[in-house]
């Protein structure tokens, strides 16, 4: 029985952990869990993201993180993540910047218990020399050199999905399968999954091709409908454009950012209250029709 509440599952993330965080600019972030971690006052976390968005900005604004491993941080149309950017410029967050193939190579090596995997990306850039986890390597067969990317094993992976059973078998609806769901939970030591809906195993058996994670890889399942809000979670709902704009405005200064988090992260007692605070049923219905993007 892996069903847990948000606070119970958040206890699987400890101060100092390296956290692989599902995210893609304005998509698919496990935001309910991110809010819970901020409320719980986690400190000194590291993040691993392919492309971090508002989740990264919030965790920077709340002082929860001190390092970031990934390829980019951006909210796409809503601009750069200002609190993250300032934290890096002030030296409070250290960045290990990787190309997408280098990040995937590091995670896949971690998942496959290999010491490294190679890529041909990054050759010629300044990103290799400054990174002790990347080494130029000669091809033993006489071909061109490659960049060896050292195995990365996050302490925990945070994932949002469409449904799971109580044994931790996780299923996705047909939609984009980003690298997060494909590799992060396989590389990480622990896996926490929030889902739109907990279902019986029989529901999963109807579409075994849509199961993306076997239960034995998953440590906790939390039911959190609309759990990716304000990011999108296709096909269920779109990103919340208005909410992103409000954050982008608040994030311009530390004070307004803190007020924003107080209102939307700290004040709501639980996930249901948060959903009320961001607009309740009418707003969610509009997002469900992809009308609020």
């Amino acid at each position: 029985m892996k069903l847990k509440t948000l606070p119970e599952a958040a206890a699987l993330v400890r101060d100092g952990d390296l956290v692989a965080l599902q995210n893609m600019a304005t998509q698919s972030a496990p935001m309910a869990m991110v809010r819970e971690l901020i409320r719980a006052g986690r400190r000194d976390l590291g993040l691993v993201c392919l492309v971090g968005g508002m989740a990264v900005d919030w965790l920077a604004a709340s002082g929860s993180i001190n390092r970031f491993v990934g390829a980019a941080v951006s909210m796409e149309q809503f601009g750069l993540c200002q609190r993250f950017r300032k934290a890096v410029e002030a030296g409070r967050v250290r960045v290990e910047e990787l190309s997408e193939t280098a990040l995937l190579a590091r995670l896949t090596a971690g998942a496959r218990s290999l010491p490294f995997l190679p890529t041909r990306g990054l050759i010629g850039t300044d990103l290799i020399d400054i990174n002790p986890n990347l080494e130029l390597l000669e091809d033993p067969f006489g071909g061109p050199p490659v960049v060896a990317c050292r195995a990365l094993v996050p302490d925990v992976a945070l994932i949002h999905a469409h449904r799971a059973d109580r044994f931790g078998n996780v299923q996705y609806e047909p939609t984009a399968l980003w690298p997060d769901i494909g590799i992060m939970p396989k590389a990480a030591r622990r896996v926490v999954v929030t889902v739109e809906r907990v279902v019986g195993s029989d529901v999963l058996r109807l579409n075994p091709d849509r199961t993306v994670l076997p239960g034995f890889m998953v440590d906790a399942v939390v039911e959190a409908p609309w759990g990716a809000h304000p990011t999108s979670f296709n096909p269920c709902y779109g990103y919340d454009s208005g909410f992103h704009l409000r954050w982008a405005e608040a994030a311009a200064a530390p004070g307004s950012a803190t007020e924003f988090l107080a209102a939307f992260v700290h004040a709501p007692a639980d996930h249901a209250t948060y959903l009320q605070a961001v607009g309740g049923a009418a707003r969610l219905a509009a997002l469900g029709r992809w009308e609020a993007g």
């Binding site: 750069l80 910047e97 190309s99 047909p174 769901i181």
Partner: protein
């Protein structure tokens, strides 16, 4: 599926520079090419769709790097989110399949890149400006896919809606996308194929000298002088052989109509121009 009469359409009289840039980028794609797009890539997405509606109907588009050949509506507010890739033929899995396709030398050979800084040898920077890497003056979004695309043999098409000494610099503060490095044969000596082909800005079209790999003015847009381009550039530009700088052909009326009525009626392609005016640094993101 082509725009009727596109081959014989006259030059447009009424067009804006974003539409000209879309038309120039569209001309980079050939029938039989495959192309994907990254985040906040409104000009490239408009250009891909324009090419498919005119000279390259069988150009294969992997929308948002996810959806193969969607039946697209108007360009949406995000070039990565689901509205871009609804009704696709295939959802490409990102962890394995997408990068396998891209890394394979035979597919997806062209990529459009936007970056905060670009230098005279076509190196791009989307990482940090000023200071050192770990305490930068400005933290940019990050290399994302361009750190790969620059090194794995792709042909790079840079777009830049803000041709200025801030964005076109003598030497980038940090190389997060490999262009021709220090120029000449340095790139090919490292075993890297492909490289920067073209730079399409709001003032001009530029390419790279075949030997020195130094950036070169190919054409200036109607109404823009060579001097204006040079003074908005942070290094001395080479001129075409013979020294004569032609004018960039304006888009045709059919192209402009297609952009305005079919492809991007909501004007998403102009977003980056607005954003450019608002900020001192930080550039559009490449996928």
């Amino acid at each position: 599926m082509s725009v009727p009469g596109w081959e014989k359409s006259p030059p447009a009289r009424d067009y804006s520079v974003d539409e000209l840039m879309v038309a120039v980028l569209a001309g980079c794609f050939r029938p039989g090419d495959q192309v994907c797009n990254g985040m906040a890539s409104f000009l490239p997405v408009s250009a891909i769709r324009l090419a498919k509606l005119t000279h390259a109907p069988d150009l294969v588009w992997l929308a948002g790097a996810v959806g193969l050949e969607p039946r697209p509506g108007p360009v949406p507010a995000s070039t990565l989110e689901a509205p871009l890739w609804r009704n696709s033929l295939m959802y490409v899995e990102q962890c394995g399949d997408f990068w396998t396709m891209v890394l394979n030398g035979r597919f997806l050979s062209k990529f459009c890149v936007g970056a905060a800084q670009l230098d005279r040898f076509g190196n791009a920077n989307n990482s940090v400006i000023g200071g050192d890497f770990h305490s930068p003056r400005v933290r940019l979004p990050g290399t994302a896919g361009m750190g790969d695309m620059g090194s794995i043999g792709k042909l790079l098409y840079y777009w830049n809606p803000d041709h200025s000494q801030r964005s076109l610099v003598r030497k980038v503060d940090f190389v997060s996308c490999a262009g021709y490095l220090s120029g000449g044969r340095q790139r090919s000596d490292l075993g890297l194929e492909g490289g920067p082909e073209l730079v399409v800005t709001n003032l001009a079209v530029l390419d790279f000298h075949p030997d020195s790999k130094h950036m070169r003015l190919r054409s200036v847009h109607p109404g823009v002088s060579v001097e204006e381009v040079q003074s908005a550039t942070g290094f001395e530009l080479l001129l075409p052989d013979g020294g004569e700088v032609p004018q960039t052909p304006p888009p045709t009326q059919a192209q402009v109509d297609a952009i305005r009525t079919v492809i991007d009626p909501h004007g998403m392609r102009r977003r980056e121009f607005r954003r450019m005016r608002q900020r001192a640094a930080g550039g559009p993101k490449a996928g």
